[in-house]
Amino acid sequence: MIAPSAPADAPVPILEVRGLSRKFGGVWALRDVSFAVAAGEVLGVIGPNGAGKTTLINLITGHLRPSGGHVLVGGIDVTKQRPWVIAHDGVARTFQIVKPFRGVTVRENVAIGAMHGNHRDRSVREALETADQILELVGITHRAGSAPSELSVADARRLELAKALACRPRLLLIDEVMAGLRPQEIESAVGLIHQLRESGITIVAVEHVMKAIISISDRIVVLHHGSILTSGTPDQVLSDPRVIEAYLGHRFARRRAT
């Protein structure tokens, strides 16, 4: 057990990572990363390919064991806990490469999240009812009876989100749910995230789509080669010359300038 770093009277952050590191072979995928997320906040995580964004999520959710450092959820140390324990602590996630349960329908996929991810739905029937509500929320009710393999890219991402929401999380980690979507699909996804946030869910969003991440995030953390390059409000981060030059490319920098 580790002592909280903040003063005793400060609210406990819902998620805190301290010195989180992970080595693959001889390479540090993530090295000494620390940050905290307050309840109700939306934190964006950006960085070029290979910066360690997905590794970060995998370490938080227990899908990878950290080589060093700690993960605290609601002030409680969950480092090296198994994924299901962390899920039951109210942490849900999506996968960048969607991982639907292919053998069952879209509706059942979401119901599996509902029946195992929280302590409310104790029967299959209740879970299926919850699934119907959540499918409506993310807008794929019309695909409820389909096999996951029949879904479009956008709908598969929505399913991924629906599965996570069915766990009724207090903290939601989303891994590039908008990559490869069309503009109006991104718009509706952004709307949905705003809605989730208003209902009180804390969100950590890893995203490549810049426009989207700026419009949803309160704060942004920039990862590079496994370390935090900088962090701050979207405007602060975007005006940081290092970020503009190195990670967003010259074109984006020019567009911001005009």
């Binding site: 227990g62 899908h63 990878l64 198994r82 994924p83």
Partner: protein, 295 residues
């Protein structure tokens, strides 16, 4: 002490033979991700072929080897091309079942043709042996073991030095990429299986020369040995298979001396399972394939 040395010497030559059985098995497993449960049946097919050649033409088993190898290669090529390729992308228990069924067909055909009696290939030099102090090593076994070594080294050279070998390794690593490079995967797979069958046939012939075989118990035992050795040695690793064979051979003969009954078999299984849990890449293999779940 001399008893122990004798057992160790026996284990080494026996291990060489078992290694030869396992080399082909391991090759197919490593390249195609197919566990060939009919491998032992193929070995016994080779043994019967050499036995027939010896019986009817008086051909020495060592001279019969090229015939056996070519026949089994063609048989193996046809099996892979015509049958196993049909389910190569199926879940593992389907390929396991297919090769099991294939093994049943082969060994029951053999049993119907030649009945279930124990057979052995008689040679004039079967009873002569090389005396090294107190240790006696029969010439037949010595030659068989030497041949096993030579073939393994030769095969490793083929795999690392030749165009064919590179095609096989490349297909084993990434079939999609290999096909993009113009490698005909179907043909390469069939050749791989053919080589494996030929090696099984040669190993079967050697086993028939230095010991006895039958169509009921020998195939299963050989397949199981190949299994254990491949796991110990690491998949698709030629030298690993040979080392694994030697380890198993020595362990079984020395263990048989020290332990009562067939405890040594139980210990072999325990070692197999422990290896899988602790080091799924094999005792001397590189950790290139993870058989474990990372959660």
């Amino acid at each position: 002490m001399s008893q122990l040395l004798q057992a160790a010497a026996y284990g080494v030559v026996q291990g060489g033979l078992l290694g030869l059985v396992a080399v082909g098995f391991s090759l197919v497993w490593g390249v195609m991700n197919v566990i060939n449960l009919s491998h032992g049946a193929l070995a016994v097919t080779g043994a019967y072929l050499a036995w027939l050649l010896n019986l009817h033409f008086g051909l020495d088993p060592f001279l019969a080897l090229p015939v056996v190898a070519i026949a089994l290669f063609l048989f193996g090529y046809a099996l892979q091309r015509g049958l196993i390729n049909l389910v190569i992308n199926a879940p593992i228990f389907l390929t396991l079942l297919l090769t099991f069924g294939l093994g049943l067909v082969i060994l029951n055909s053999l049993q119907l043709l030649f009945n279930a009696d124990d057979r052995t290939i008689e040679t004039s030099y079967a009873s002569q042996s090389l005396a090294l102090g107190t240790v006696n090593v029969p010439y037949g076994r010595l030659a068989a073991c030497g041949l096993a070594l030579a073939i393994t080294v030769g095969l490793a050279a083929v795999m690392t030095r030749t165009r064919l070998g590179h095609s096989i390794s490349a297909t084993g690593m990434d079939r999609g990429a290999a096909r993009l490079m113009g490698i005909r995967a179907r043909h390469v797979y069939a050749i791989t299986f053919g080589i494996s069958a030929a090696l099984a046939g040669v190993a079967g012939t050697m086993i028939a020369t230095v010991g006895s075989f039958n169509p009921t118990t020998t195939p299963g035992q050989l397949t199981l040995d190949a299994f254990v050795i491949s796991v110990l040695g690491g998949l698709g690793n030629m030298y690993g298979a040979l080392v694994g064979g030697l380890v198993l051979g020595i362990a079984e003969s020395v263990g048989g001396l020290v332990l009562t009954g067939t405890w040594v078999n139980a210990i072999a299984m325990a070692v197999l399972i422990l290896t899988l849990i602790v080091r799924p890449s094999g005792l001397i293999g590189k950790a290139q394939y993870s058989g474990r779940v990372e959660v």
